[in-house]
């Protein structure tokens, strides 16, 4: 039977909406892309409107509206937490009461206010948080059956769960409950190293290769007790989140030799080593949990979701260790993807609809290009209205050649092509592209385009069919969720000793060393966060990389998100043009329109735009 189901995630981080029709994922988008507020947690009215528009559905035609979390159970956890902590939890109780009792339990009100109805059921449905993650990992995967592993900060009570999916059925067998959480453990180190919790975790991951895991044993001795079966508990004596408003406490600081790093202050060897240490422990834990999932289910395939599943270093090790034959990770692994999982779970478990896998044997996430696209006439109207000079190249091959030539000449390209990505990674629809062969690309992109920390690496987008020529990997990584080593024969020796002295923590000297014939995407440990680009997923992007290869012999481009630091990834042509004019991007590609920076009129901009977006 035909079903149209709207999934919603909101009020935590990364509010989003997803729409599933007849079991097919029609649309999904994060609210931040529309409101231009990074990680916007507010009710996703814009994302919902987009999803309905994409599906051509009226709100009253919705068979079900489903929310990805059960706030009443979250409240149970908050109450018990506060009763455990007593007086010190007063402020936490106050804030949580406003948030949960004031807003989160009244989802039905928000839905009705936003779209005027809760659809044909007349009520909003709810999924368990980790069930939504599990469903988002299993249903779109290319597998008939798979083990399921979900890992995040916390959802209601659960923080880690193991289960299995088979055809239309998703089950979770066992879990680790709050306050024990690998996600919160990683976030505690994110906080302690001076980055923002819930958004700075990927910075900590990028910092890890600069350091040595010299604190890993201390973490295992004092902070976490890991059992041989992969289960674990945290030693709450070292954390502040149960009875206070901070992730860590004085005992944690004493263990690691001082107070937390202040945001934007110099990053020292301590932070690099802490990052390396928590990464090592996280990877070990993910491997142990995966082995448990394999033993429990006997499955050959594993699917992953939850915020920790965005840790592509751990994912890469998991794949190379071959705990499972095959691995699939939901690209919107964090809370945004819960909207999609909730909608899919309702389709199969509530309505009992059968599951249909993609007939080509690939996944049904459709490259995660699930957001808005703009037609040529819409872009032409925008450019005409603003009178922005542009060149129109309708022929796709010719356009790819021109853009590839610009890249090979060292130009930085803002690339806007097709439907926007769902999930935190830019995959060629809203990307900034550059030449990976140039030794100065990383510092140029970080300092003149992205305005972000100089240590942060860039990722390669490689022709799927050529990936093994550059990286030690087999299979695909279409969602940039696996880290793989750059092949030995492409590596170059680096000067040793640059970073050996405890007193020397000048990261730029290390960053600027050329490590391979693709220096811009080779991280300090010779790793790369790879996106394999398949012709079927994004023909236009594939064609561009192929054209770059025709010119340079290299089937790889640098691919980073189309935004500046703290800004959500661009959604519309207007967002893209604004970002283009504010940064050192040389060429903007808006579908078949090319805009060169040097012929654009002076941009009338708000002088304070760099403070418009909060620090991420």
């Amino acid at each position: 039977m035909s079903r149209t189901i709207l999934g919603i995630s909101a009020f935590y981080h990364d509010a989003a909406a997803a729409l599933v029709q007849n079991g097919r994922i029609v649309a999904a988008a994060q609210e931040e892309r529309f409101t231009r507020r990074k990680h916007d947690p507010r009710f996703p009215r814009n994302a919902i409107n987009y999803c309905l528009e994409e599906a051509g559905a009226e709100p009253d035609e919705l068979d079900a509206v489903v929310f990805y979390d059960k706030a009443l159970h979250t409240w149970d956890r908050v109450v018990r937490n506060c009763m455990h902590a007593g007086e010190p939890a007063r402020e936490q109780f106050r804030r949580a009461a406003k948030s949960i009792l004031g807003v989160k339990i009244w989802v039905k009100d928000h839905v009705e206010k936003a779209i005027g109805t809760t659809g044909k059921l007349g009520e909003v449905l709810f999924t368990e948080h980790h069930m939504a993650h599990a469903a988002s990992a299993f249903y779109p995967s290319p597998f008939d059956e798979a083990a399921i592993l979900t890992l995040d900060g916390v959802g209601e009570w659960s923080t880690t769960s193991i289960g299995a999916g088979r055809e239309a059925r998703v089950e979770l067998f066992e879990e680790i409950d709050y306050p024990h959480s690998v996600g919160l453990l990683y976030s505690a180190f994110t906080y302690y190293c001076g980055f923002k919790v819930n958004s700075g975790e990927y910075k900590l991951m990028g910092l890890a290769p600069y350091g040595q895991p010299r604190y890993a044993q201390a973490i295992k001795d004092h902070l976490i007790d890991i059992k041989p079966d992969g289960s674990y508990r945290l030693n709450l004596e070292y954390f502040g989140y149960v009875d206070g408003m901070t992730m860590t406490n004085a005992k944690f600081e004493a263990l690691f030799g001082g107070s937390a790093r202040k945001s934007e202050s110099r990053i020292t060897r301590r932070e690099m080593d802490l990052a390396a240490s928590i990464q090592a422990v996280t990877t070990e834990l993910v491997l142990a949990l995966a082995r448990r999932a394999r033993r429990q289910t006997g499955a050959r395939n594993l699917v992953l979701a939850g915020g920790v599943a965005l840790n592509c270093v751990a994912n890469g090790v998991l794949q190379r260790e071959r705990v499972f034959d095959n691995l699939w990770i939901q690209p919107a692994a964090g809370d945004a993807g819960g909207s999609l999982g909730a909608a899919l779970l309702v389709n199969h478990a509530y309505f009992g609809e059968p599951r249909h896998r993609a007939i080509n044997g690939r996944d049904s996430q459709r490259g995660s290009y699930l957001g808005p696209a703009y037609k040529a006439n819409e872009i032409a109207a925008f450019l005409d209205r603003q009178d922005y000079p542009c060149e129109r190249i309708v022929d796709g091959e010719e356009r790819a050649r021109v853009v590839a030539k610009a890249l090979s000449d060292g130009k930085v390209v803002g690339y806007f092509s097709g439907r926007m990505e769902f999930g935190p990674r830019s995959l060629g629809a809203r990307s900034i592209l550059a030449d990976p062969r140039r030794h100065d690309t990383q510092s140029k992109l970080n300092l003149k385009v992205k305005f972000r920390e100089s240590f942060r690496p860039f990722a390669p987008a490689v022709l799927a069919e050529d990936a093994s020529e550059y990286f030690e990997m087999t299979g695909e990584s279409p969602y940039m969720l696996l880290v793989a080593p750059v092949r030995d024969d492409r590596r170059m020796p680096v000067k040793s000793g640059l970073f050996d002295s405890d007193a020397d923590d000048d990261m730029l000297r290390v960053v600027n060393q050329v490590r391979s014939d693709l220096p811009a995407i080779t991280h300090v440990d010779y790793s790369a966060r790879v996106q394999t680009v398949h012709r079927d997923d994004h023909p236009e992007f594939h064609r561009l990389i192929r054209a770059f290869k025709d010119i340079t012999g290299i089937g790889v481009v640098v691919n980073t998100s189309f935004n500046v630091r703290g800004e959500p990834i661009v959604q519309s042509p207007k967002d893209a043009y604004t970002c283009f004019m504010r940064t050192g991007i040389d060429l903007l590609v808006l579908e078949e329109f090319l805009l060169w920076k040097d012929v654009q009129p002076e941009f009338d901009d708000n002088d304070n735009w760099k403070t418009e977006y909060g620090r991420d």
Partner: protein, 116 residues
């Protein structure tokens, strides 16, 4: 307005939550499992229900202000802390007074608190 709400929240915290917490702790009730047990073979918790059935989707939020007390009582109706059900009337009253449908605004209000 905010001060009034804070006062209501603090009152519930001081007059209901803390006294009940002290009493139950005195009776040996554990609210959070925080102990490390070096001898335990596993920390995994087996789920009593492994999949979501149709009826499970229908619970999770509050549909009307009138039903909210029953919704809380339902969550706390059994298990190890059924005495928490005693909190349901006060919690329901607080929820009704805090009930707040977000307006479209440039700013994220204090009612949306992302814990972690």
């Amino acid at each position: 307005m905010t001060e009034d709400l804070d006062r209501d929240i603090d009152r519930l915290f001081d007059e209901q939550l803390l006294p009940l917490s002290r009493r139950l702790k005195g009776e040996g009730v554990t609210f959070l499992e925080t102990r490390l047990d070096k001898d335990a073979p596993s920390y995994f918790v087996r789920r009593t229900s492994t999949e979501m059935k149709k009826g499970d989707f229908e619970k999770g939020g509050c549909s009307t202000p009138q039903a909210v007390e029953a919704d809380f009582a339902d969550v706390w109706g059994g298990g190890d802390v059924r005495l928490l059900a005693n909190l349901a009337p006060a919690m329901a009253g607080l929820a009704r007074s805090l009930r707040h449908v977000e307006e479209e605004s440039v700013d994220v209000s204090e009612f949306i608190y992302v814990m972690y």
